[in-house]
């Protein structure tokens, strides 16, 4: 794990704790963070890969210790600042002001047309599928090795399968390539595949109780085995 988020297989973590009758959001600020994120994504101020990348930039201890939507605040800030629409100083100053006058109401403005457009996207979807002329490089049943090349920036190949061998079990569409889109270098779509990795090939001979893992992988992450 070059970055904090790539934790598949990390040992030492505790039990999975479920909450009974969990609400969709746990507080008003979680609601607003979620809504602001969707609305600013919808405005094209950043893309989903840049949003994810901003989460991954959080150092590992705060990453693991903060709550889910606290991580969203961190990446939302980062991305808004990078988009040039607000500065860190402005956010800091406003936070301080609000802490002194917590009763201050947040202002409002409406954009009915944008609102309808966004709701339309939520209900209709916005697939990262793209047209691609290039032929698919792999077929079902092909044995493939996942890239072992380190990527120190945004990547969607989990570290636990890097360098490991698996078998293509499903051919998917061509999707926007996240590494490229996160870097602002365009969508550069690639064919995607679902690859099955056997437990012992991923976790080694001492894997107890493990199971095959199916990972969805862009074509440039794969070479023929």
């Amino acid at each position: 794990m070059a970055r904090a988020h790539d934790i598949g297989g990390l040992k030492g973590l505790g039990r999975v704790e479920m909450e009974q009758d969990e609400p969709v959001f746990h507080s008003e600020w979680e609601r607003r963070v979620f809504g602001i994120t969707m609305a600013t994504l919808g405005k094209g101020l950043f893309n989903i890969e840049q949003f994810r990348s901003g989460v991954e930039e959080i150092p590992i201890v705060p990453y693991l210790e903060s709550s889910y939507y606290e991580r969203w605040i961190a990446t939302l800030e980062r991305n808004l600042i990078r988009a040039g629409v607000v500065s860190e100083d402005e956010i800091d100053a406003r936070t301080t002001e609000l802490s002194h006058r917590p009763e201050t109401e947040v202002g409002r403005r409406e954009e009915p047309e944008f609102c309808e457009m966004l709701l339309g996207a939520i209900h209709g979807g916005m697939s990262p599928e793209r047209e691609l002329d290039a032929p698919k490089g792999f077929e079902i049943g092909d044995r493939v090795v996942a890239s072992g090349t380190e990527v120190l920036t945004h990547t969607r190949l989990p570290r636990y399968v890097r360098g490991k061998t698996g078998v293509v079990v499903r051919l998917d569409k061509a999707f926007v390539f996240p590494e490229s889109n996160a870097a602002g270098d365009g969508e550069n779509p690639e064919w995607c595949y679902c690859v099955r990795f056997e437990a012992e090939d991923v976790w080694g001979p001492n894997a107890e109780n493990a199971a095959p893992v199916y990972v969805d992988v862009w074509e440039s992450y794969l070479v023929a085995a």
């Binding site: 909450e19 979620f34 994810r52 202002g107 697939s127 599928e129 976790w203 199971a211």
Partner: protein
């Protein structure tokens, strides 16, 4: 956790700072924020997925279509949307049990299940379920047969997975609507059986 009154804590202040600045700068639409939130609090949730599962249990041809082209079969019920544009349904049987995770973040099939629960997004689940899935499922109260192949699906790209749980025994006489009530969110992630709490 439940709901907190936390208007003065740091994340709350920070969020309100961002929102107020974006509003003043004419960048943020408050109505869009409201509507997005209410959509996921009120309209889009696991009941959608339950309808899909109940239909698949009741209608063999629908089930075939669901397993062949989940996005299309789900759309037949009027269900579609963001984070569900490319769906795959995974059938649990007596031979194979499927469980879904997103180790890298929190990818999840929003149109059929709503927003993910906290545990699904937790480092504990994400780190552990790929390497010790049987232990994790046992902790969560789901014991599998040793003979069942357990398959873990990591939502690492743009496919979103939902599990089609096994239809509980003794439900032959139930209507599709009654079946819907047996289908929990957790059974469609693969960490529980249908018909259990």
């Amino acid at each position: 956790m439940g709901e907190h009154d936390d208007t003065v804590n740091y994340p709350s202040l920070r969020t309100r700072a961002i929102e107020s600045l974006l509003v003043e700068k004419g960048i943020l639409a408050s109505d869009a924020v409201d509507r997005v939130v209410s959509t996921y609090e009120e309209d889009i949730g696991p009941l959608n997925g339950a309808r899909v599962v109940a239909r698949a249990w009741s209608d063999g041809e629908y089930k075939t279509r669901l397993l062949e082209n989940a996005t299309g079969a789900i759309a037949e019920l009027g269900i579609s949307g963001m984070q569900g544009e490319n769906m795959v349904a995974l059938e649990n049987t007596s031979e194979v049990h499927n469980v879904v995770v997103c180790t890298l973040c929190s990818c999840y099939p929003w149109p059929v299940l709503g927003l993910p629960p906290y545990w699904y997004k937790s480092p504990e689940y994400r780190a552990r379920v790929v390497v010790e899935p049987r232990a994790v499922l046992e902790e969560l109260g789901l014991e599998l047969d040793d003979s069942q192949e357990l398959r873990v699906w990591d939502s690492s790209a743009d496919i979103r997975y939902m599990v089609l749980p096994e239809r509980p025994a003794g439900t032959d006489d139930l209507s599709e609507e009654e079946l819907t009530e047996l289908v929990t969110r957790d059974s469609m992630i693969g960490v529980a059986r249908a018909g259990t709490s």
